[in-house]
Structures are given as structure tokens and as C-alpha cells.
């Protein structure tokens, strides 16, 4: 149990699900052995109300209702498991099969699956059960087969994602057969989501099996499952309600047990599970700036940590003067982004942020400063992996957001303003771009679009978090030029983050080198150019910068 707890498995969902599940398993195993007689023997005590002897009364053949409900657990679980297995295995075979077949078959197959999924599955089951004649096996087959299309579709969706990954492409290039690709790469990598889906299928099968009984096409006497018992007693719901209690409670318990287990599995599969939001103590929204403190941004002893875990930023202090461009350089995981986002007031919710001072102008970033001021005064530009803009909104809406929300500019005027700004950062046909969705624009255009917004909102501080990392060098060049330009024209201070010393040295007035959550060196571009660095880490970063050598003698790279 402690082991489970450590792996984040011992949640209330898991505990509840396991407990219920175990109880049901015990009932399934023991009840048919121990309770066969009261459950199946005909007696004269027919149709009796609840009593000490028969807690839930007896049915019209004098059999104990509670015993029957318990004994039915075995058959119900077996049937539901059977139906689930058919749906899952069939679904996987069809779903993966469709994805591994040729493009033509795939297209037709997917389309057919889509239609099949939309078809009322109960009607589907009804036909199958009717043809096979009602009974245990035909119910299982009917519900199982009826569940195949939707599971196949889900599998196909998962397989679609996996089959476009590089590892599948590579395996195919290596000549691995489609079957082996499916078995080695596709299936194992979707095992977890499939397992979670299977729990959903299980609870759905349970309910559908009983619905089949309700229509009269389920299990037939003398066999009995929850559905049959429920259906038998449902006619008495108004006259002897206790008789309904046994099977309905059992159905619900079974369903809940499986759903809870599924939820627990899903939670575990979610990599973000275990994150717990931290309530950072909130300071006042604004702080007083001491006389003589000219800095626009002041950070003193900033510490960011995983609650109860590692410290990711270990006491960083920095200042940015108005109009100053400060570069923050370091490799992945050095804490540079966390530092920048703390400055911007948007640290990840699950991290603990402490600092002696953390302010931008008089805005206390440890408190809850006025949203409008934050929006107007601090502009943030992120790395562009193609996902920084909302895919379902047109560029115009998104780029004018700050203008309209915080500067009270009307839509028409905001569009006009931003269009002019886009033209200034060399974007052609700005009006058309504003009407386009983000995916129609290249990464460079999107970044320049972001930069253009600062032309019209004139923030005091621009926080740029690796804004050129995902771009080609030529595009990076152009974007950097625009940064330089707005800096010149707006005079905004800037916190510019990069892992590339080569990039920052061209743009920044001052460069801070970060490593393992600490600032290890502070440099001017001049020092950098002359190689006047002291920390070995800075030296290593410098060595890593490649420049084009166009001199006659080839540069040797070591």
C-alpha cells in the first residue's frame, strides 16, 4: 500500500474501485457455491416481503432474492468480461488493421467505421441477439460485436497518432513487417489508453446487457444475470420495490467499481497527475519603490521549488533598467524560463515561488496586480512551435486581444492599428493575414505578428522566452531584427531568453548566464565578443556557438 501511495496510485478512486471490485469478485466466486440452494431451490414461500430470513424477500417461485442477486454476480461478470473482450479485441484488430492497410482501404474503412459508430448499437445488438436466439452466449456476442465499431474507431484514432510518429516510420523503413509494427510499436504504445477505454466498455457492456434483458433478448431462464433478475423484478417495482433492490444495487456497484478503477488508471496515465497547485502567499498588488531605485524590474532572491522537492531556481537576483535589454542564457533546465515567467507573473501553478522582491515597475508579481496594467505593461512572446496561437481563432482576434481588452480600442480600430503594425514588421497583405487562421501563417510570421502587437500596446517590459528557437536561421535573423527595431522605436525594456549565446550577444545590453537555477556570470556583449568570460560553463556555451567562417582557411571544429 505504501508502495502504491508512493507511485501515486492509492487515490480514493483506486481504493474505492479495488474494494468494490474485490467484494464483487468474492461474491462471484463464493456465492454460487454457498448460496446455490436458497437461490435456485423452489419453495412454497413465494412472493414474500423482506423478513429476517429473506432480507430482500422471495420471488414468485419462492427463491431468495438476495441470494439470487449474489449468485448472479458470477455469470454477470463473466458475460460482461466476455462482451468487453470481444469488443476490445475485435476493435483493436479492426482499428489497427485499418491503419496498417493501404491508404485506399484505410479511407474507406475509416468512413465505414464512422457510420457504424453512429449506428444505434442497441439496435445492432438486438438484431444479432435475435438471430442467435436469446441466451447467454448470444447476449455476449451481440453486445460484444455491437461494441466493436466504437472501440475500433478509438483504436484507429490512437493508431493514427502513433503510426505517424518517427519511430513507426523508422521501423517501416527498416523493413519491419506491418504485423510486427503493430505488435511491437503500435499496440504497446496505446496499451494504457486502451486499458482505460476498456473499463468504459466494461461498464457500458454491463448496462447494455441488462438493457438487452429488458427488451427480452438477454439471458434466458434458468440462467440468470443481474439484467434478468432486474427485469423479472421490475414488474414489481410498484408493488414490491425491495425485489428490485438486489439486482439494481449490484449492477450499480459493479459499474461504479469499474469506472473508478478506470478513473484511477486514467489519472495515473496522465503525466500531470500528482501535480498539486500551490497557493503561494499573496502580497499586496503594488509595492512602493524606494527612492533611488531606478530599475524597472527588480528581483531579489527568487526561489522556485517543487513543493517538498527540488529547488529549481535558487535565489536569483536581477534588475532590468527601463529600456534595457537583458539576455538570460542557459541550457534546458537551467531555470531561465522559470525565472522569466516568475517575472511575468505566470509561473506554473504547481510550483512554490518565493522572493524578497519581485516587481515590475510598482507591480508586485507576488501579489495579484491589476490585470489591465499587467496586460498593458508586460508583453510576453513565447517560443513558436506552431501552437502558441489558438487554432480555431483568426489571427486578428488574437493579435488585437490586449488592445481591445485593456486599452479599450474598438474592434475596427484595433484591426486597423494591428494591420499597420504588421506592415511595419514586413508582413505582406496584413489585412488578409488578420482574417487567416494561425496555421496558414509561417512561424516567422506568427512571431513577427506577436512583435507587432507590442508596437501598438507599447508595454514597459517585453519578456521573450526563446522566441527564435524553433525558427530557421534566416527567419530567426529577421525576427531578431524586428526585436531590435521595436526596442529602438519603443524603448521597452526586454528580458530575452535563449540557449544560444550567439543570439543574445547581438541583441542584449547585458547578459546573464544561468545554470542549475543560479546566475553564474554576468557579461556585456563586448566581453562576450572578446571572449572575456570567466566561468567554464560560459566558456562551454561560447564554444558551442557556431559561426560561418568565410575566410580562405577552413575553420577546424574540435
Amino acid at each position: 500500500m505504501t508502495k502504491l501511495a508512493r507511485r501515486g496510485l492509492w487515490t480514493p478512486s483506486m481504493a474505492g474501485g479495488l474494494l468494490l471490485g474485490l467484494g464483487l469478485l468474492v461474491a462471484a466466486i463464493l456465492a454460487p457455491v454457498l448460496l446455490a440452494e436458497p437461490a435456485e431451490q423452489l419453495t412454497d414461500a413465494a412472493g414474500q416481503p423482506p423478513s429476517a430470513e429473506h432480507w430482500l424477500g422471495t420471488d414468485n417461485l419462492g427463491r431468495d432474492n438476495l441470494a439470487r442477486a449474489l449468485v448472479a454476480t458470477r455469470l454477470t461478470l463473466l458475460m460482461t468480461a466476455g462482451a468487453t473482450a470481444i469488443a476490445v479485441v475485435g476493435g483493436i484488430v479492426v482499428g489497427v488493421g485499418v491503419w496498417l492497410s493501404g491508404p485506399r482501404v484505410r479511407k474507406v474503412g475509416l468512413r465505414l467505421l464512422e457510420t457504424a459508430v453512429a449506428y444505434p448499437s442497441l439496435i445492432f445488438a438486438l438484431v444479432i441477439a435475435a438471430i442467435l436466439r436469446p441466451g447467454v452466449v448470444s447476449s455476449v456476442v451481440a453486445i460484444g460485436v455491437a461494441g466493436i465499431p466504437s472501440f475500433a474507431r478509438l483504436t484507429a484514432n490512437l493508431a493514427a497518432k502513433i503510426s505517424t510518429t518517427d519511430y513507426v516510420t523508422t521501423a517501416r523503413l527498416l523493413g519491419v513487417s506491418p504485423r510486427a509494427v503493430a505488435l511491437r510499436h503500435v499496440l504497446p504504445n496505446m496499451a494504457e489508453p486502451l486499458l482505460i477505454l476498456a473499463t468504459t466498455v466494461f461498464s457500458l457492456s454491463l448496462v447494455e446487457l441488462s438493457a438487452l434483458s429488458f427488451i427480452g433478448l438477454g439471458v434466458q431462464s434458468p440462467d440468470y444475470d443481474f439484467g434478468l433478475l432486474l427485469n423479472e423484478s421490475l414488474t414489481q417495482i410498484y408493488t414490491q420495490p425491495t425485489s428490485v433492490l438486489g439486482p439494481s444495487v449490484m449492477i450499480v456497484l459493479t459499474g461504479v467499481a469499474v469506472m473508478l478503477l478506470g478513473d484511477a488508471l486514467a489519472a495515473r496515465a496522465n503525466p500531470r497527475q500528482g501535480r498539486r497547485a500551490v497557493r503561494n502567499p499573496a502580497g499586496p498588488p503594488v509595492v512602493e519603490i524606494p527612492d533611488g531605485d531606478t530599475a524597472l524590474v527588480r528581483v531579489e532572491d527568487l526561489r522556485v521549488r517543487v513543493p517538498g522537492g527540488a529547488e529549481l531556481v535558487k535565489g536569483v537576483s536581477l534588475t532590468i533598467e527601463p529600456g534595457e535589454v537583458v539576455g538570460l542564457v542557459g541550457e534546458s533546465g537551467s531555470g531561465k524560463s522559470l525565472t522569466a515567467m516568475s517575472v511575468a507573473g505566470l509561473p506554473p501553478a504547481e510550483l512554490e515561488v518565493r522572493a524578497d522582491v519581485l516587481r515590475v515597475d510598482d507591480l508586485n508579481m507576488l501579489g495579484h496586480p491589476d490585470r489591465g496594467r499587467l496586460g498593458r505593461e508586460i508583453s510576453i512572446i513565447y517560443q513558436d512551435p506552431g501552437t502558441t496561437f489558438n487554432p480555431s481563432l483568426r489571427m486578428g482576434v488574437q493579435l488585437t486581444e490586449v488592445l481591445r481588452t485593456h486599452l479599450g480600442v474598438g474592434r475596427g480600430r484595433a484591426n486597423k492599428l494591428i494591420a499597420d503594425a504588421l506592415a511595419q514588421v514586413n508582413i505582406s497583405e496584413p489585412e488578409r493575414r488578420l482574417r487567416q487562421h494561425p496555421h496558414k501563417l509561417s512561424g516567422g510570421m506568427r512571431q513577427r505578428g506577436m512583435i507587432a502587437t507590442t508596437l501598438v500596446t507599447t508595454p514597459k517590459l517585453i519578456v521573450a522566452d526563446e522566441p527564435t528557437t524553433a525558427l530557421d536561421v534566416t527567419v530567426q535573423h529577421e525576427v531578431l531584427r524586428q526585436f531590435r527595431r521595436i526596442h529602438r522605436e519603443q524603448g521597452a525594456a526586454m528580458l530575452f531568453i535563449s540557449h544560444d549565446l550567439g543570439v543574445v550577444q547581438e541583441l542584449c545590453d547585458r547578459i546573464l548566464v544561468m545554470r542549475h537555477g543560479e546566475i553564474v556570470e554576468q557579461l556585456t556583449p563586448g566581453q562576450l565578443r572578446e571572449g572575456d568570460v570567466h566561468h567554464p560553463y560560459t566558456q562551454a556555451l561560447m564554444d558551442a556557438v557556431l559561426v560561418v567562417d568565410t575566410s580562405p582557411v577552413r575553420q577546424e571544429f574540435s
Binding site: V207, I237, V256, L393
Partner: protein
């Protein structure tokens, strides 16, 4: 220097290359293919159901001679391929045939039932969306980033519980409490608008669980997206954030799912219709099964298939309007 711009400005394509046209054609072909499949499969498969329509019509006290006569009258003594061509011939003139059991026009019978089912399914899905989208989003937002773990557990437990109650038990409970107990709503039939309340409620509960869970999950996914981080950077208000940035991206999955639920409810409401004596298609097809009324079974299955496909197409079109990438993705 403009080298950072796309080197392949999309050229004006001929009409046949229009993604929308392709999209339309593809959907139409899909519709046709599934229709042909459905016609053939149902034709072949329905007579496999044990039980002779003639015996079902004649009843247990009829004589063997009488049953044989009815078989002849229904055309069941003809070779299967002759029956098939008759059937297909009828379909081509939009004639679904006449009911074995009642001699009534099958299309008229289906048309009489369709509005009841449609009404119920539409109401249920609309209300489902109205309830589960806000609930799902709210729970996602409130629990995002590991906040309020108790809400997380309560939400899971409650939805699991409601999800696990068989619909007919739920329906019966609703009737016994609200109709028979408090006499607030009619218990059965489809006379007034009030009659819709309980069946809709019974039909909604399961989809509400499914959809709100999905909305919640999708919202959580969306909240972790880069573009939400971007929007946070603009410090826009909560309402705008959820309305403009989260909702449209949640709604795509939700709509797809709702389409499927709507389609499956058109026939899948069998159980609810029985409890509430609601004269819809589900009830109709069960009756037809019991009477081995082949033309009605086939007709209903066909109509349901057609509706299911149509709903999918409509959802696809809506999605394509919401998010144009879906149309272009088909282009590959």
C-alpha cells in the same frame, strides 16, 4: 528580404481541387456506400431471425394451412433473389413496402414515429450539451493543476454512479417519483409538452455523464496548451478566456461525440420509449421484431442508418466551419 515567407503560396486551384468539393463528394460517397451495404446486409440478415412472420401473424391457434396461405400472401415463398429485387425496386421509387403485420405503408408508419423519436433525441442532446459543457468545463477549471482534489473525486464518483444505473431503472425511478408519486408530469404517452420532460430527463442522464467527462478531460487538455499560456499572457478575463479560447477547442470533440450520441439515441431510446409508452422508432422496431415484420424492421434500420450518416455529415460540416483545418486535412 522576404525569404521567411512561404515559398509555396497556395495557387488558386481548379474547382475539382476545392477541398470543400472533395469533402462533399467524399461524404456523399460514404453515404451511398453505407446505404448500399445497409440495404444488402439487412435484407439478408433479417430473415435469419428465428420465427416465421406468417406464424407470428396467424397466432398459435391458427392451422398449418392458414400459415402456409399467409406465407404465400406475404411473398415469402418466393426465392430470396426475387424478393430482393422486388425490395430494391421498391426502394428506388422510395417505397419501403407494406407492413407484414398490418398492411400499412411502411414509410408512413416510420414517418409517424420519427417526430416522436426526433423530438426526444434532439431535446435530450440539446439539454445534455447545455448542462454538460458548463459542468465539464467548470470542473476542469476548478480542479486544473491539481486544485481541489475532492471535487475531482466527487465528480468521478457521481458520474460513475449515474453512468452505471441502467436507463430503464432510472426511467422507472423518475416515473415513480415525479409522475406517480408527486404527479408533476404525465407518466406515459406523448400528448403534451410536459410529457417530454421525464423521458428527456431519463435519456439525458447517461449522455450527460459521458459528455461532461469528455468536456472535462478535453478542457484539461486545452488548458495545458501553449495558446492558453499565450492568452494568459494577454491577461484577458476569465469569461473571455473560456468563451473564446477554451470553448471552441473543447467543442470540436464534444460536437463529434454529441453527434454520435444523437444518432445512437434515435434508435437506442428503445428502453426509454417502452417505459414512457413513447411511440418512437425504438419502440416501433421492437414491436416489428416481435411480429417478425420484415419490411418494417428493414425500413427502420435503413432510415436510422440514413439519419446516422446525415448527422455525422452535419457534424462534420459544422466542425469544418468551426475549424477549417479538418477540411484541409482530408486533402492529403
Amino acid at each position: 528580404m522576404s525569404i521567411s515567407q512561404s515559398p509555396h503560396p497556395v495557387p488558386r486551384t481548379a474547382l475539382r481541387d476545392s477541398p470543400w468539393l472533395r469533402f462533399g463528394l467524399q461524404r456523399l460517397t460514404g453515404l451511398l456506400v453505407s446505404f448500399v451495404l445497409l440495404v444488402t446486409v439487412t435484407f439478408v440478415i433479417i430473415p435469419l431471425i428465428p420465427g416465421d412472420p406468417a406464424a407470428a401473424i396467424a397466432g398459435p391457434e391458427a392451422s398449418g394451412a392458414e400459415i402456409a396461405r399467409i406465407r404465400g400472401e406475404l411473398g415469402l415463398d418466393q426465392p430470396l433473389h426475387v424478393q430482393f429485387f422486388d425490395y430494391v425496386g421498391g426502394l428506388l421509387t422510395l417505397d419501403l413496402g407494406t407492413s407484414f403485420a398490418s398492411g400499412q405503408d411502411v414509410s408512413a408508419m416510420i414517418l409517424a414515429r420519427l417526430p416522436f423519436t426526433g423530438q426526444l433525441a434532439l431535446f435530450a442532446i440539446l439539454l445534455t450539451l447545455i448542462v454538460s459543457v458548463p459542468v465539464g468545463m467548470l470542473v476542469a477549471v476548478l480542479t486544473h493543476g491539481g486544485r481541489r482534489p475532492w471535487l475531482d473525486h466527487v465528480f468521478n464518483a457521481v458520474t460513475s454512479l449515474v453512468y452505471s444505473v441502467p436507463q430503464y431503472v432510472m426511467a422507472t425511478l423518475l416515473v415513480s417519483v415525479f409522475a406517480v408519486g408527486f404527479r408533476i408530469f404525465p407518466a406515459a404517452g406523448a400528448e403534451t409538452l410536459l410529457s417530454l420532460v421525464l423521458p428527456t430527463l431519463a435519456l439525458m442522464l447517461l449522455p450527460i455523464c459521458v459528455v461532461s467527462r469528455v468536456v472535462r478531460r478535453e478542457t484539461t487538455v486545452v488548458l495545458d496548451q501553449d495558446y492558453i499560456r499565450t492568452a494568459r499572457g494577454w491577461r484577458i478575463g476569465r469569461v473571455r478566456m473560456f468563451g473564446r479560447y477554451v470553448l471552441p477547442n473543447v467543442i470540436t470533440t464534444t460536437l463529434t461525440l454529441s453527434g454520435l450520441i444523437l444518432a445512437s439515441q434515435l434508435g437506442g431510446a428503445v428502453v426509454i420509449e417502452t417505459v414512457f409508452a413513447w411511440p418512437g422508432l425504438g419502440q416501433g422496431i421492437v414491436d416489428a421484431f416481435l411480429a417478425r415484420d420484415y419490411p418494417v424492421i428493414r425500413g427502420t434500420i435503413l432510415v436510422l442508418g440514413l439519419l446516422a450518416t446525415l448527422i455525422i455529415i452535419v457534424v462534420d460540416v459544422i466542425l469544418a466551419i468551426v475549424d477549417p483545418r479538418t477540411v484541409e486535412a482530408d486533402h492529403d
